[in-house]
Subunit: 433 residues, 2 copies
Amino acid sequence: MNNRAIGIGLLGMGVVGSEVARNLLQQAERLEKQVGRTLALRRVAVRDPGRHRDLSLPAALLTADPNAVIGDSSVHVVVELMGGLHPAGDCIRAALSQRKHVVTANKEVIAAYGPELTRLAEEHEVNLLFEASVGGGIPIIGPLRKDLLANHVSSIHAIINGTTNYILTRMSQEGASFQAALRQAQELGYAEANPANDVEGADAAYKLAILSSLAFHTPVTGSDVYREGISKLSAVDFRYARELGYAIKLLAIARQEDGAVSLRVHPCLLPADQLLAKVDGVFNAIEVEGDLVGKVVFHGRGAGPKPTASAVLGDIIEAARSFAEGRKPARSGSVSHALRVMPMDDLCTQYYFRVTVADRAGVLAKIATVLGDLSISIASVIQKASDAASQTAELVIMTHPAREAHVQQAIRHMQALDVVREVSSVIRVEARG
Amino acid sequence: MNNRAIGIGLLGMGVVGSEVARNLLQQAERLEKQVGRTLALRRVAVRDPGRHRDLSLPAALLTADPNAVIGDSSVHVVVELMGGLHPAGDCIRAALSQRKHVVTANKEVIAAYGPELTRLAEEHEVNLLFEASVGGGIPIIGPLRKDLLANHVSSIHAIINGTTNYILTRMSQEGASFQAALRQAQELGYAEANPANDVEGADAAYKLAILSSLAFHTPVTGSDVYREGISKLSAVDFRYARELGYAIKLLAIARQEDGAVSLRVHPCLLPADQLLAKVDGVFNAIEVEGDLVGKVVFHGRGAGPKPTASAVLGDIIEAARSFAEGRKPARSGSVSHALRVMPMDDLCTQYYFRVTVADRAGVLAKIATVLGDLSISIASVIQKASDAASQTAELVIMTHPAREAHVQQAIRHMQALDVVREVSSVIRVEARG
């Protein structure tokens, strides 16, 4: 066995970076068995090299300069765990250009520059691996890049943000408000102090862009994804949904039809007996449907230092093997055709409305007229508890498939009715077979 | 693009072989995009080349001699879909020795000779790929060989036989007897005329051996796996299990502890709220637990021509890319240590007993004494319907964790009691956190 060590350079020492470093140091033997060569942590770029670290790394390893890591001739694999677009994107570019293998968990960078960086990696015959960018430790990038390649993938349905799934689970199981559930998530470290990136769906949109690019062999970026967060959901919607046989989940959905892809992240009513409806707490699940494989679901912990380190270290092993054996990296799936992104207005799906109305006769007729005029056909209406004090009642309306553009118009028209106090909730319904 | 075609040779044209051939012919463009080169089906070995085939293959392609396919110099990738140990094992050996890449769906061969054939493939610098051997189209071999490699895998819990899971689902949902559910499965083509291989657990044992070899980096064969089939289960056990909050599934379980592995396939009581308990019909699911990733579950169609072809074609793409790019195949995970196989007698788990007893006072005391004398501690006892005609009653006993050897002794001692008519069922309970 050739045992010259393979040099690893680390950019970023947050919770994931620390866990990766801990494994490189403390599980060296296990990793060496899998690679056939020793992995040596050679340089680590951190924001403040003077700050105390949990791991007793020799001070000489630490630097504040990412380029000192990338440019170190004893570093063969650069592991980018800084997060955020800048300077991470430039660091990855620099590393690939210097023929370093790159492993990253950075969903933002891959969602924005994935195809460009993949070309750069192929040009320099090095690996660019990003299994950890989606679904934490759940193997999903590997299967899409390899095992499922023979399929024409028609759709992806995914719960890929643990923070929001935790919040929705609390709201569903305890009738908690969004604010209360968010506070709980923050106390447990599942949500950040500024939770916007998670609760407004941006994080899930990045991840969906990455999955879609691979599944559909087309360049998709985060900004191609329509998104709507969970902050406007009410506890009462969960109760009504349950009565109707549905769960409410923040779904990331990509669908390929007629040479176009629709890409969206928003709360969804999902039939309670479906596998995704049963994914609770901080867990993630990704369902891929292909013409050969049918539906295949990947389920596990989508975040956290250990699961994410599992994916990062798996990629490090792959990059290190490839370096050790002088293998050229495998071609990535071809990004052959640029599919059109379907405008959200053209979406055709079912809808759940909760409308607060004046508690008197004739109200339903007026609402039904608004919907009927826009070709929105009603599947069911239930009148819920009236409030004597405010003299209002709630109507819960489920529609048959309708066009999004019409639904948006209908919302405006309903709000203009004198009998309507408020269109309180509009949630899309994903009722699949 | 270098467009000399890559030659594919097919051994076997059953339902899976036909589906693979159909895709090679009809989805040639899709596959070419992923490989970067054309895939050409060059030779096909079938039992009877004269028999009518669905696909209109030129007669010149067909031969009855597998060696004519393997030895054909225009064949670069040999796809073995004959099934069974002989002559498939020798065909794979011959192909690897002639430096042909090999793709197989053959669980029996891989379970028996996996480590030997893997060494042979490495020696000749070709790929031996067998994603289709476990779980049909579900990507599980790839993730174990790559994505999850950084983990110390502690256990695998899997539903990996669609036939038995279909039968158990019918028994559970309709109160059907084993024989009736089996007939139903046979009518639908989910069970073979001779169903022994599936219902007695041999098929699941092969697959568990393959998964365990990869997960624990140790050579495991099908004969290392303890197995017990489902033919002795009664409809009444499903009812009692449900009342106690459990489902009954045929589980394949592998666990690594203290330098040993325990390997077993048998019916199990499984808490109804667990993901695996909800896997119904012909679906498969594989749960892998690792120290970093936690529990990750892979779910999908575990059999059928299309899902299996998805995995076979994915492997063909990988082998063809590797051939086209002149890449050496990736090293497989090291098979570094031979772990001891734990004797079944040493298993420690919980048990469900259904005992048919004389319907009179004092019976429970006698049974409790038998169990107590063997250090088997009772968690709960429920007396079920007595039968006035035969003057018998049923006792359903759940135990705390006990040693298998003691439980086997207890069964004999109970059967010897004059008050016991029959120990009607003994089912192990998998009660995990």
